[in-house]
């Protein structure tokens, strides 16, 4: 009988093989998407008038799942379009592929050039590896637990941004032009907790809007942005693809990402990539990441992640596993 160590070694080798297949599959899917990008798209809506889907989403997901199922008939699959068709988002101990065939469908429809295929993989409910393929730039982001994160073979490292204390003395030291007027135009808000502002100034933050557009939700969404801008962050960006935005955090080009309304298939691959690049992913409550919770905070440093979690107010979305008993 094989020892548990031998089993573990066998499993690890097997997951490496799975990851290679995931990479090939992502590239093939990416090519299909690239071709379709140039053409007219037929658009339908899902949970709201701005939650969009196309034939290409369904085609690509079928392509990915059928080619994976052929090689791994005993594995399970959680996919965005299968889920929309009624499949349950149930994560068991079985090896499970967690797939977003087109992350950034709205971008795809508009030919806005930020579209990705995302393939995550979990065993015993632990995320093991992630593959995210930027279909237009052909950038391949990969990470396997314990083996680092890469973009096109180059190792990724998150930013370790924890800004220095923000004082008027710092302004002078930095050689600020028009010092007097800059100092007047600053609003150093006193409501922030001690040290909190220091963590946030100089941060570049990414987020996404989510599918809910009712006034109450938008009030919270804007309120969250307002609070972060008050903390004198360098800027907030919105690119329309959660997985690619999370990859920007992994590469160090952005310091943090937060969102309400994304899905497990947006999180699964990117969480591994960020962790393997040295970053942190947590729940918006400050607790550990909950894959099915529809929300995330990701950052290069744990301080930044927790600060954002403290500042943002929740927008509630139904859990991905809401119908899984």
């Amino acid at each position: 009988m094989a020892s548990s160590e031998e089993n573990e070694m066998y499993s690890k080798k097997q997951w490496e093989g799975c990851m290679e297949i995931a990479v090939q599959t992502a590239r093939t899917a990416g090519q299909v998407i690239r071709e379709a990008f140039k053409h007219e798209k037929e658009v339908s809506t899902k949970s709201s008038p701005v939650d969009l889907v196309t034939e290409t989403d369904r085609l690509v997901e079928d392509l990915i799942i059928s080619s994976l199922r052929e090689k791994y008939p005993s594995h399970r699959f959680i996919g965005e379009e299968s889920s929309a068709a009624g499949e349950k988002c149930l994560l068991t101990d079985s090896p499970t592929w967690i797939i977003d065939p087109i992350d950034g469908t709205c971008n795809f429809i508009h030919s806005f050039p930020m579209v990705a295929v995302s393939i995550g993989f979990a065993v015993n409910k632990e995320l093991e590896f992630g593959v995210i393929y930027h279909c237009l730039d052909e950038n391949l982001y990969t990470a396997r637990k314990g083996h680092g994160a890469f973009c096109n073979g180059i190792q990724l490292q998150v930013s370790k941004e924890t800004a220095d204390a923000f004082t008027h003395g710092d302004l002078q030291r930095l050689g600020c032009v028009n010092y007097a007027s800059a100092a007047e135009s600053l609003t150093i808000t006193s409501h922030l907790k001690d040290g909190a502002q220091e963590d946030m100034s100089k941060a570049l933050i990414l987020t996404e809007i989510g599918a809910k557009r009712d006034p109450a939700t938008l009030k919270i969404f804007s309120g969250n942005m307002e609070r972060l801008l008050k903390a004198q962050v360098h800027g907030i960006r919105v690119i329309g693809s959660a997985t690619l935005a999370l990859c920007q955090v992994a590469s160090g080009a952005a310091d943090a990402y937060y969102q309400f309304g994304l899905h497990c298939w947006d999180i699964a691959a990117a969480a591994v990539i960020i962790r393997e690049a040295g970053g942190n992913v947590i729940d918006t409550s400050g607790g550990p990441l909950d894959l099915m919770s529809r929300r995330i905070v990701a950052a290069g440093t744990v301080e930044m992640a927790h600060y954002i979690a403290q500042e943002i107010q929740t927008i509630t979305y139904e859990r991905d596993d809401h119908n899984a008993n």
Partner: protein, 284 residues
């Protein structure tokens, strides 16, 4: 048919490409960039901004010694930003300095050119993506040689809109910026994007990848080149009130159609911004 400004435009493209190389080199340097602040803690400038602008201006001055210049860093150092009838180069050496500092991949060199206060050509080089956007009045708009066409979208409820939060951190301004965004999201539009550079945002509209871009608070050097690119791709530029575009007004809407532009104007509430030419409202 010969084009009297063709030589200038070729020079503009060459200067933008060279500047892009300098920017890419600076990004390769492992060390921290030395970052200075201008009007707010979110309004950044680096030595590369200043170096690139000097380089562009001196290369142009050598070939065209009688021409005028409006450049972001020259203006910050006290030069005039008044547009005269003289052939004038309107330059943003690094549009997206915040992105540059973070290595977030949207950074552009923007070179616009006006004669008798009319924009004649525009060059925007998105240097991290190696995308060279160009347009000559009356001759179309291109990206890396491929002709550009706006989406033509007329239905606001099917539109993707780009805007920015800007570098003004005055709480009242921030609230107004967010309120404008909320009103558009409620229409509802398909989505809002913000990549961090006005010039690239406008070029994305020119490609058809987005249906409109609007912002209050940008400068003439952010808009000049890309305004030609969008209009030559079949789009429109207008003031945020729906009135005619004013290069020195610190604001614009650019859109794939007049219908979208005017619909956006209906939702926007403008807030005051000091004009680039220093004129007051009653002097207009």
């Amino acid at each position: 048919m010969s084009d009297v400004w063709e030589e200038c435009m070729d020079h503009g493209v060459a200067a933008a490409r060279k500047a892009g190389e300098v920017v890419r080199e600076a990004l390769k340097n492992e060390g921290c960039m030395s970052v200075m602040l201008k009007s707010s803690p979110a309004d950044l400038v680096t030595e590369t901004d200043q170096k690139v602008e000097s380089m562009i201006i001196s290369s142009i001055k050598e070939k065209f010694p009688t021409h005028s210049f409006i450049g972001e860093e020259s203006v910050a150092a006290g030069e005039s930003s008044i547009l005269t009838d003289n052939p004038t180069w309107i330059i943003d050496p690094i549009d997206g300095t915040t992105n540059f500092v973070h290595r977030f991949p949207f950074v552009a060199v923007s070179i616009g050119f006006a004669v008798k206060k009319e924009l004649e050509f525009g060059v925007v080089y998105s240097c991290m993506e190696d995308k060279m956007y160009t347009a000559r009045k009356g001759r179309g708009a291109f990206c890396n040689g491929v002709q550009l066409k706006v989406s033509g979208q007329e239905d606001i409820t099917k539109s993707l809109i780009i805007t920015e939060l800007g570098s003004n951190r005055n709480p009242d301004t921030v609230r107004r910026v967010l309120a404008n965004m909320d009103r558009l999201l409620c229409v509802p539009v398909h989505g809002i994007r913000a990549v961090g550079t006005a010039a690239v945002n406008m070029c994305l509209v020119a490609t058809g990848g987005a249906d409109a871009y609007y912002e209050i608070g940008i400068h003439c050097w952010d808009m000049a080149a890309a305004a030609v690119i969008v209009t030559e791709a079949g789009g429109v530029v207008m003031d945020v009130t729906g009135g005619p575009f004013d290069l020195m007004s610190r604001r614009l809407i650019t859109a794939s159609s007049r219908a979208i532009g005017e619909r956006i104007a209906k939702e926007l509430q403008a807030f005051p911004c000091e004009r680039d030419d220093g004129k007051k409202e009653d002097q207009l």
